[in-house]
């Protein structure tokens, strides 16, 4: 079981529920180590005392604000937590809002909020059900590791989920970022054609259909370099549509989409093609994905050669079953 990143209580009305906070998402970006070019020497950061030049242990670092030249007010982590005595140990729900009212731009990151102990399981279950039925989210503030968070607590998959939210003053307005806003007035039948294109490409939201192809390519690049193979480079992206050709581009896009060629599925065509290729030519990340699709047991702990063998075995097993 994962370790919580925070623990405390959720309070709504006079009800207090002990809870623990866990990450609900994980990043799968390839994590590189920093190496000095021309060597295999790792580069690392050190926290060094500027006067002595010696490394300082994490536990001996405190925060300081300079109030005069070389004069600091020093603040201990416990002191920062202590000035928010309630909010660093509890989450107080101020109000319940309709979940659909929250603009997606405010959502930051999702965490699972699990029950802290068995004594709170009844009120915990009650809050889950109430939020599920009302489609509302509890808005709250709390402090974690010296930072205040605005959050929304909602029901998800039978448990509580906590979404950290941006504060209103953290949202940048488009005009401030983009400068002049584009002239968006459509001409003639362009809007109808654009809507037609959107409709012809419409489909259900299936997150499992999407994979991080860039990370897969980075893994492939590493494998190719390690094996001394030639590096494959991608072709240049298509040029942006000329405004004069917009109607024509829309018409051809609608035709292509209706013919099934413009659907996103076309990008997975390459994936299917690769799957049928010799497994020995595939990267570990590609084998991971195939193993996941085939539901190969214990795949997460397998090395590349083990994955290849397990996939072959699973495919043979399935072929035998369908033949019998």
């Amino acid at each position: 079981m994962a370790r919580p990143i925070w623990s405390g209580t959720v309070n709504f009305g006079l009800v207090s529920i002990p809870v623990r906070l866990y990450s609900a998402t994980q990043d799968h970006t390839v994590h590189f180590r920093q190496i000095e070019r021309g060597t295999s020497d790792r580069v690392r950061y050190q926290r060094v005392n500027e006067r002595t030049g010696k490394e300082v242990d994490y536990g001996d670092i405190v925060k300081g604000r300079e109030i005069a030249d070389g004069e600091y007010v020093v603040v201990e982590p416990e002191e920062l937590d202590a000035i928010a005595p309630g909010r660093s140990r509890s989450i107080d729900i101020d109000t319940f809002v309709d979940l659909d009212e929250i603009d997606p731009i405010y959502f930051q990151k999702t965490y699972w909020l699990g029950p802290g102990d068995t004594s709170g399981s009844r009120p915990y279950g009650l809050l889950v059900k109430a939020l599920e039925k009302s489609n509302r989210a509890g808005i709250c503030n709390f402090v974690m590791r010296g930072k205040e968070y605005l959050a929304a607590i909602r029901a998800d998959d039978g448990v509580l989920a906590l979404d950290t939210l941006f504060f209103a003053d953290e949202i940048r307005r488009p005009k401030d970022q983009l400068g002049e806003l584009p002239d968006s007035a459509p001409r003639g039948k362009e809007l109808d054609m654009a809507i037609s294109l959107v409709d012809s490409m419409a489909g259900p939201w299936k997150p499992e259909d999407y994979s991080d192809t860039y990370t897969e390519r980075v893994e492939q690049l590493i494998e190719d370099k390690a094996a001394g193979r030639t590096i494959k480079t991608e072709s240049e992206p298509p040029e942006s549509t000329n405004v004069v050709d917009l109607s024509d581009a829309l018409r051809r896009s609608v035709e292509a989409a209706r013919g099934g060629r413009g659907r996103k599925g076309s990008s997975t065509g390459g994936r299917k093609k690769k799957e049928s290729a010799d497994l020995s030519e595939l990267s570990k990340s590609e084998l991971d994905r195939i193993a996941r699709d085939l539901d190969v047991p214990g795949r997460s702990k397998m090395r590349r050669d083990e994955l290849e063998k397990a996939i072959k075995g699973q495919k043979t097993e399935r072929a035998d079953k369908s033949a019998s």
Partner: protein, 59 residues
């Protein structure tokens, strides 16, 4: 594990590295063993300019 760390004392999942946030929002941790580049796991979150990175100049 550090004796003076309140998060270690509570056995909470956290990181002792500094989370460095670049101009694009991409985070990087100074602890190579960091398993999750998430702000709430770190007590020390700094802008990349603190480490001499100049990517903020481009924005």
């Amino acid at each position: 594990m550090t004796s003076r760390c309140p998060d270690c004392a509570q056995a909470l999942d956290h990181c002792h590295g500094d989370l460095v946030v670049h101009a694009s929002g991409r985070p990087e941790c100074t602890d190579p063993a960091c398993v999750e580049l998430d702000v709430p796991r770190h007590r020390n979150v700094v802008g990349c300019d603190a480490l001499g990175c100049t990517c903020t100049d481009a924005t």
